[in-house]
Structure formats: structure tokens, C-alpha cells
């Protein structure tokens, strides 16, 4: 469980990036943090594994205050995949890249081997086991970065902009993958601008603006609220836009999912014909 209590944070340059953020993420929850550039999203999630420590307030991971422990100790429970895979890839082979964290955490050789195979398989990278990560495409490098974190099976997974540079198929895979992790009881936090991706996943949504939380609730509520989204420079999901424009025909405004939309439309059509 992640608990953020009245956190303020200022960078050494004097910029106050967080101005009193409070939230709780329960185990097994799927949270999407959204907001315009510079809203403090990445700054906030960097507090979750102790990379940044609050200037005022507290961050607790499973009851442990982040100021009282090290990033390495927190990292065992909190996996953090950075936005740009090139900021972490350094090994000669994909296999070694994945083993890096496992060795840091002191797993024995047999477990390391098992975990590598498992992670490669999970992300469809088995064929690249002995390839240099630098030879892979952008999307593949991103998956290697993800595999290198998933390999140690952290309870909480933080993904910073996971959909950037991924084609539609990869995004769909990622979505399936998140659902799978969620069914195993993992906590997932994503930071993203990709409203379509979020609307397909329908997680809890936290909207941030200028270092503050402006909205926090079910995706279906927040993603269909034009006023709140407009303030955060976010455009409504396309399907919601259509339904809002058609609301004069008696259609509901709070639709974010394509399948739900189809059901509603079919029902309306049937009612007319019937």
C-alpha cells in the first residue's frame, strides 16, 4: 500500500513541483496519473520508490517511511520503469540486462536464470535473449526495460509513459499485460498522456495540475467530465466526444469504452425498430 500524506516537494533550483499532495493507493489497484506537462506527475511517482524525498509531508510504502530506508531496499517492492529505455540499457545482451537487478538484489544463479526466462517469455523477447539491446527497435528496447523490472516481480509497478513509441498492437499487449498483473493482485501506477489508452483500461484516474491533485476517482467519472479535463489540457476520449455530441438524442454522456458504446447503440436502435 502506498500512502502519500500532504507532500510538498521543491527541486534544488527552487521550483516547487508538488504543493500538498495526499493520496492512498491500495494493493491491487490500477491508477493512471494524468495532467499537462510540468504538472508534477513524474515528480510524484519518483517519491513512491524514494528517488525523491518529500520536503514536507510523508510517503509510506507498506507502512515504511521512504526517508527511513534506501531506494535499493524500496525497489524490491516498487518496480519503476522509466520513460526512456535508453536511460537504463547498458549490457551486452538482453539476458544480462535483465539479470542486472536480480544480481543487485542477491538472487542465486538458478533463480536468476529462471526469472530471466520467465520475463523474456512474458514480453515476447525470447528470441532476443542473446541480442544486444542496442540493436533492437525503440519499442523492443522499451519492452526489455520493462522485462528487466518485472523480472524481480515487484508488488507495486510504476510505468512512466509506457505507451510512447508503441504501435497499436503493442499497446493492446501492454493493456492485456496490465490486466494480467492486476489479476495477480499487483498494484499498477501509470503516468501517461494517452487518454485513449486510459479510457480502454478504465482505471482509477488521478488528475494533476501545477503540483496539486485536481481530481481523483473512477476513470468513467473523470474521463467524461469535460470541465475538469479542459482545465488539465486533456481532450476527452473520442468515443466520449461522440456520445456527448449525440446526448440530445437521449444517449448517455458517460461512455468511455467502445464495447459499451456498441451495446448502448444496439439497444437504442433495437428500441426504435421494435
Amino acid at each position: 500500500m502506498l500512502e502519500v500524506k500532504g507532500v510538498h516537494f521543491s527541486y534544488p533550483s527552487g521550483v516547487e513541483a508538488l504543493k500538498g499532495v495526499t493520496l492512498t493507493v491500495k494493493n491491487g489497484e490500477f491508477l493512471a496519473i494524468m495532467g499537462q506537462n510540468g504538472a508534477g506527475k513524474t515528480t510524484l511517482v519518483k517519491h513512491f520508490n524514494g528517488l525523491l524525498k518529500p520536503s514536507i509531508g510523508q510517503v509510506l510504502v507498506d507502512g515504511v517511511e521512504t526517508t527511513k530506508t534506501s531506494v535499493a531496499a524500496l525497489a524490491r517492492n516498487v518496480g519503476f520503469v522509466f520513460q526512456n529505455p535508453d536511460h537504463q540499457l547498458f549490457s551486452e545482451t538482453v539476458e544480462e540486462e535483465i539479470s542486472f537487478a536480480l544480481k543487485n538484489f542477491g538472487y542465486d544463479a538458478e533463480t536468476v536464470e529462471k526469472r530471466i526466462t520467465w520475463a523474456l517469455n512474458l514480453l515476447g523477447l525470447t528470441e532476443y535473449r542473446k541480442t544486444s539491446p542496442f540493436m533492437l527497435s525503440g519499442g523492443e528496447r522499451k519492452r526489455v526495460a520493462l522485462a528487466s523490472v518485472l523480472a524481480w516481480d515487484p508488488q507495486i509497478l510504476i510505468l512512466d509513459e509506457p505507451t510512447i513509441g508503441q504501435d497499436h498492437q503493442q499497446k493492446e499487449n501492454l493493456r492485456q499485460f496490465i490486466i494480467q498483473l492486476q489479476s495477480q493482485g499487483k498494484t499498477i501506477v501509470i503516468v501517461t498522456h494517452d487518454i485513449e489508452f486510459v479510457s480502454e483500461c478504465n482505471p482509477r484516474v488521478l488528475l494533476m495540475r501545477e503540483g496539486k491533485v485536481v481530481a481523483d476517482g473512477a476513470g468513467k467519472e473523470i474521463l467524461t467530465n469535460p470541465e475538469v479535463l479542459f482545465e488539465s489540457s486533456i481532450v476527452l476520449p473520442q468515443i466520449t466526444q461522440v456520445f456527448i455530441k449525440l446526448s440530445s438524442l437521449g444517449l448517455p454522456k458517460n461512455i468511455i469504452d467502445v464495447y459499451e458504446a456498441r451495446d448502448v447503440l444496439l439497444k437504442t436502435l433495437e428500441a426504435k425498430q421494435g
Partner: protein, 261 residues
């Protein structure tokens, strides 16, 4: 990365910022050469003091102190290695001159860091490029130079992000003995180098697609001109050179231990 902070230019207006970069550069080089020529504490300390009024006139004391703080580790390393090697070659008979020369060599390094930090803190990359161009350096070279200077803070920031990313994967930079600690930086350095190379290739492509080098003869919107302050700085520089040559070659400089006796 705080050493790099000391090289980061911030746009401030002060008499020092307005000086001609060419004069400032000659001044820094004069200090540099003097620092290399002397190996006694007294003249090196005098050189150290010369730059201080510039720091305060330019109001960059905060950044300047940060860059010196960043140099502490290397300075300590220089002191230790000099001291140990001279102690070792003399069979571990520690004498006052030995300590003094180790201090002097450390001071020399501090003077070099100090003067270059003042130069880079008070000179914008644009001015620097302009100065190089007006000194007849081919534009390709001056451009490469200014770009390199401009990218130092970008790289420093990137190094921080990479360190964060690796820490999040359980890397502990401060763990282990000396050799292990150096090896700990491999996962930071490789991504840094790779991304610097990628960035430079992208920059080259972006420049070419914007017709870089299409005209052989370039003109500049601003031209550098020497003002009264610049001649004054030149005077100080000449004075430093004259005094250096005089004290270095025509007098015997006492060491501190001789001074006390």
C-alpha cells in the same frame, strides 16, 4: 554532478558578464599558465585570490562555491596521490616540504577549476562562439565547440536521470570498496555515452535538414567590440604575466616552512 553546475551559464547582467569573451579567455589562460609555472603555495594562493573579486562582481558566488565543492573529491585525490608517492619514494620520511608540495599541487588544481568556472559562469555560449568566429576559427570548429559547451548541463541532467533509473533497479553507487565503487558507475556511463552519440547523430541530421553550411560566408547580427573594461582586464592580464615571469625566473620564492623560520 555539481562540478558541471559550476560550468552552467546563467543569464545575469554584471560588469563581468559584459566583458569581451576574448579578453576573459586570455585572462583565464594567463592564470592557467601561471598556475602551471609555479609550484609553491604562496604564488598559487595569490592566483587563487585574484579570481575572487571577479566572482563577487559577477554575483555568481553561489554557483562558484558549488563548483569548488564538486572539485573537493578530485582535489583530495590529487593531494593524497602526490603525498603518498613522494612519501613512498623518500622511504616514508615525512617532511614539511613534502606536505607543502602536495598542498601546492592541489591548490594548482583548485586555481584551474576556479578560473575556468568563473569564465564559463560569466560567458554565454553564444558569445563564446562569436569570439571564436571573430578570431578566424573556422565556423565548423566554433560551432562544434559552442555545441559541446551548451550540452554539458544537458548531459549532467541526463546523468542524473540515468542514475535514478539504475537506482530503481537496485544499484547502490556508494556500496563496496574503491574498485567496486568505480565499477558501479559502468551502468551509468554506458547509457550516458550511447545517448550522447545518438543525440549528436540526431543533431547532425536536424542541422543538415535545416541547410547548415549552405553559405560559405556567414555574417553575424552582433559583432564583438572592445570597451574600456576590456582594456582594463587586458592590463591586469599583462600585469599577471609580467609578475609571473619576474617572480618565477628572477626571484627565489620562499616556501611556507622557510617563511616561518
Amino acid at each position: 554532478m555539481s562540478v558541471f553546475d559550476g560550468l552552467k551559464f546563467r543569464r545575469v547582467y554584471s560588469p563581468i558578464h559584459n566583458l569581451d569573451p576574448r579578453m576573459k579567455f586570455i585572462f583565464v589562460i594567463a592564470i592557467f599558465v601561471s598556475a602551471i609555472l609555479f609550484y609553491q603555495i604562496i604564488p598559487l594562493f595569490a592566483l587563487f585570490l585574484i579570481a575572487i573579486p571577479f566572482v563577487f562582481l559577477a554575483r555568481v558566488q553561489k554557483q562558484w562555491i558549488r563548483s569548488l565543492r564538486g572539485a573537493v573529491f578530485l582535489a583530495a585525490l590529487i593531494f593524497l596521490s602526490n603525498f603518498l608517492i613522494s612519501a613512498w619514494t623518500s622511504g616514508f620520511k615525512i617532511t614539511a616540504p613534502m606536505i607543502e608540495s602536495a598542498i601546492a599541487l592541489t591548490l594548482r588544481f583548485v586555481v584551474l577549476v576556479e578560473s575556468f568556472s568563473v569564465f564559463f559562469l560569466t560567458t554565454s555560449p553564444d558569445h563564446l562562439g562569436l569570439a571564436l568566429e571573430q578570431s578566424r576559427v573556422p565556423y565548423e570548429f566554433s560551432f562544434a565547440f559552442t555545441t559541446a559547451v551548451r550540452f554539458v548541463p544537458v548531459l549532467a541532467e541526463e546523468a542524473q536521470t540515468i542514475m535514478d533509473a539504475q537506482k530503481a533497479r537496485g544499484l547502490e553507487l556508494e556500496k563496496g570498496n574503491f574498485m567496486k565503487r568505480i565499477r558501479n558507475y559502468v551502468p551509468v556511463l554506458i547509457p550516458l555515452i550511447v545517448s550522447a552519440i545518438r543525440r549528436s547523430l540526431e543533431l547532425a541530421e536536424a542541422m543538415e535538414s535545416r541547410a547548415w553550411g549552405a553559405t560559405k560566408k556567414r555574417t553575424n547580427l552582433y559583432a564583438l567590440k572592445l570597451h574600456r573594461g576590456d582594456y582594463f582586464l587586458l592590463l591586469i592580464t599583462v600585469l599577471i604575466i609580467v609578475l609571473t615571469v619576474y617572480f618565477r625566473y628572477f626571484t627565489a620564492i620562499p616556501t611556507i616552512s622557510q617563511f616561518i623560520k
